[in-house]
Amino acid sequence: MNDMTPEDRKSALKGMGTSRKRVEDARFTQGKGNYVDDIKLPGMLFGDFVRSPYAHARVTSVRKDTAMALPGVIAVLTAEDLAPLGLHWMPTLAGDKQMVLADGKVLYQGQEVAFVVAENRYIAADAVELVEVEYEELPVVTNPFKAMDADAPTLREDIAGKMDGAHGPRKHNNHIFTWEQGDKEATESVLSGADVVAEEMIYYHRTHPCPLETCGSVASMDKVNGKLTLYGTFQAPHAVRTVASLISGIAEHNIRVISPDIGGGFGNKVGVYPGYVCSIVASIVTGKPVKWVEDRMDNLMTTAFARDYHMHGKISATTDGKITGLWCHTTADHGGFDACADPTKFPAGFMNICTGSYDIPVAYLAVDGVYTNKAPGGVAYRCSFRVTEASYFIERMMDILAIKLDMDPVELRMKNFVRKDQFPYQSALGWEYDSGDYHTAMDKALKAVGYDNLRKEQAEKLAAFKAGESRSLMGIGTAFFTEIVGAGPVKNCDILGLGMFDSCEIRIHPTGSAIARLGTISQGQGHATTFAQILASEIGIPADDITLEEGDTDTAPYGLGTYGSRSTPVAGAATAMAGRKIRAKAQMIAAYLLEVHDDDVEFDIDRFVVKGAPERFKTMKEIAFAAYNQAIPGIEPGLEAVSYYDPPNMTYPFGAYICVMDVDVDTGVADIRSVYALDDCGTRINPMIIEGQVHGGLTEALAIAMGQEIAYDEMGNVKTGTLMDFFIPTAWETPNYITDHTTTPSPHHPIGAKGVGESPNVGGVSMFSNAVHDAFRPFGLTQSHMPHDHWRIWKTANQLGLHG
């Protein structure tokens, strides 16, 4: 090691800033991943649900006899069987409760009515058909506005008349909460006296995260030792253990929750679902391991929808385009139960980031949550809690205001950005933005795409269209987003009372390699690769010599899991802090070995050197060995540390996105010509992985903006329950992306990182939607609802009279 240059020593670590290849890939490329459906335990049984074909009905009887008579059927569980255990209902993450199995009625199509347990999945599926359920249909409410009508049927009879909800007073039996932020009076007064006001209803449709692997669990109750082991698709395994303990009465130390490899999450795997609970109960009842894995239709119909926000907005400005106020009233369709995965004090998530990247002096936001006959959920689909909704709202309102002001949408944004010198910036709706440099990012993006030339080309294309020489319109979509991620400070962020800190525990082995365990769980983000890089830079041990483990509650320290881009901002910070504790002890050991005072040695890449005498040093490898074989006065043997990190603030990644599309007015096909995405996620840990995250997030944004939705008919039937109807872009429909970045570190994060996985979805949806709108702007279009599939685009063209 002595003959290596400092650069060589540094690159040998593969620390932060390196595009280190992923350590996860060896197993995944060779078919050796271990996902929940790969788990096979001796004597394991298989569970499957009888689901309601109706969106709203009374369940008058459930007859099991025929099903039970089928050879290989072990049990059929109903709410009646679960009631004595108190498990026929379960608490939701949002302070509501949800039926595990239909307790007298069903509230959405696909709701779980009975759980069949059989020797294998074929017998279980056969038996599901043999369970005879009688329903008495009730009037169905799928429109959240009609749900609030005085004569609307009461959906949740269990809480009828109970007018104090988990988030304050309820004003109707189908009302869940009203959440208000900002200054209503001041905002309305500014709006009423404003030069210009743009008003619009922005609907962000219901969609679904749809990871390629559906949700599932394997529960194994070991009655001899009184221990329950629960494997499952859990984005928050530790929280699942606590919830499982609270609802089952099994002591928490007797429950071991394991998240094995997870085939994508995107928010779908944050919640607790009836399938998890039923697999546990079935294992307790049968004494055997029980597996439950949902099929794709179950997944799309029942677990974890996202969005479904009707956002009524008003934005005011001076005639020269300086924004003076923002007002928003959102009607949030939560389905049959309020199972939103938001921090407790935020029933509409961080929707109050809806002032976006702009210096808006006064704002008001109110959100009304409403019950309907749709599936529960309300998860953050590849975004922090409700941040995509907020960002889409403000980015549409900006474009609509630009139309009203007859301004270029970029010019309007530039004019209103929070300036670099305003950070830390206090927003009108209560957040403190940590750092940003929006003008620099936007300028860089404009230059990269040649914005002025694009606008010229667009004008030429428009002239050709008007002259009858072409049937296609060019749209330029611009979006500038500010995310709010890294939930969050324990003082205001908790889920079910559990503070949203996260953790890292490190053990250095005698030979100088290490294992680190975190409270998070990767679902494709590459934590085993990137967190080892943080540690490599912090403690001078090569990333290749550090094993990283997550997801086993018996071994990993407690943490709140991976969603809302919180892993790097929170667990990444814990990792750095735990690393610094290791380094502090290593410094004392090094000083002892070098026979100098602690303060006379300093850390240098992979070693401690004597200040002013760099030839005298001890490498981390030597220090690690000494920690285990030397009796050092005043220092305990061993070298390990744990850190529980409570972040002082959220982090605020941002970015400038621009795309160009050509819209064929006759076919409604939008041909995406180019996509440029500039992200600023603070300090960059692994550029290769960041780029991969941006590609993926943009593609999910493309899906949502251009075709993906969970649609219901008036009877509450799900019209998009398979991958035939629910749009997921293939390689053929997906464009290539150009990625770029600026770097504005977070001032409060130990390594300045902000998180990136969800930014491209937050910025991307607005970008694609704005491009479609921009194409039709010359013909008077202000707002058309997503998803912009061919039919809707054709319809827009038709309504604007473009079909002659």
């Binding site: 290849k21 992923r22 996860e24 890939d25 060896a26 197993r27 995944f28 490329t29 060779q30 078919g31 991943g33 996902y35 459906d37 790969d38 096979k40 089928l70 290989g72 294998n120 999945r121 074929y122 017998i123 056969d126 749809c210 990871p211 390629l212 692997e213 559906t214 490899d261 997870i262 085939g263 994508g264 995107f266 894995v293 099929d295 794709r296 679902q523 494709g524 983000q525 590459g526 290769m688 992985i689 780029e691 991969g692 995250q693 590609h695 993926g696 997030g697 943009l698 593609t699 999910e700 398979t722 991958l723 035939m724 997921i728 293939t730 390689a731 053929w732 997906t734 290539n736 992306y737």
Partner: protein, 164 residues
């Protein structure tokens, strides 16, 4: 439940036999009866391609093949493409070019790409995108998958040329 049949196949070059109901899907026979868990289940309706295997020399979604149709078949899964000491160029390229994230689509993706490169050893980007359109990925946005397949094709063609 129907009477089980005696199913014989060649899987990854080895003769295998098992009892299975004729209605069982090939993906379930592979995963649950033969312990070959590389191919995954993402939809069971032939849309996602996570269960793609090579079936008598063609890419087939094994969730749409009954056990009864697989009698005597030659099946290759991700497990048959390479081994830790001798990885298939596609396996190396997917790692090298970050062509995967959660890994769930990867076995089907690589197995399909393996067949695509036999059908067309020098595909253009457009031909790769079209040829891979039966395999969905939710994580990568495909850009690096395309790059991985291009890199593997170059590697395989260079090796072929060197051998000739």
């Amino acid at each position: 439940m129907s009477k089980k049949m005696h199913l014989e196949m060649t899987v990854n070059g080895q003769k295998v036999e098992t009892l299975a109901e004729p209605r069982e899907l090939l993906i379930h026979v592979l995963r649950e009866r033969l312990g070959i868990t590389g191919p995954h289940i993402g939809c069971e309706t032939s849309h996602c391609g996570a269960c793609t295997v090579d079936f008598n020399g063609k890419s087939v979604k094994s969730c749409n093949v009954f056990a009864a149709q697989a009698q005597g078949a030659e099946v290759t899964t991700i497990e048959g493409l390479g081994d830790p000491d001798n990885l298939h160029p596609l396996q190396t390229a997917f790692k090298e070019h970050h062509g995967l994230q959660c890994g769930y689509c990867t076995p089907g993706m690589i197995t399909r790409a393996h067949r695509l490169l036999q059908e067309n050893p020098t595909p253009t980007e457009e031909e790769i995108r079209f040829g891979m359109a039966g395999n969905l990925c939710r994580c990568t946005g495909y850009q690096n998958i395309v790059k991985s397949i291009q890199a593997a094709a170059s590697e395989m063609n260079a090796a072929k040329e060197a051998a000739e």
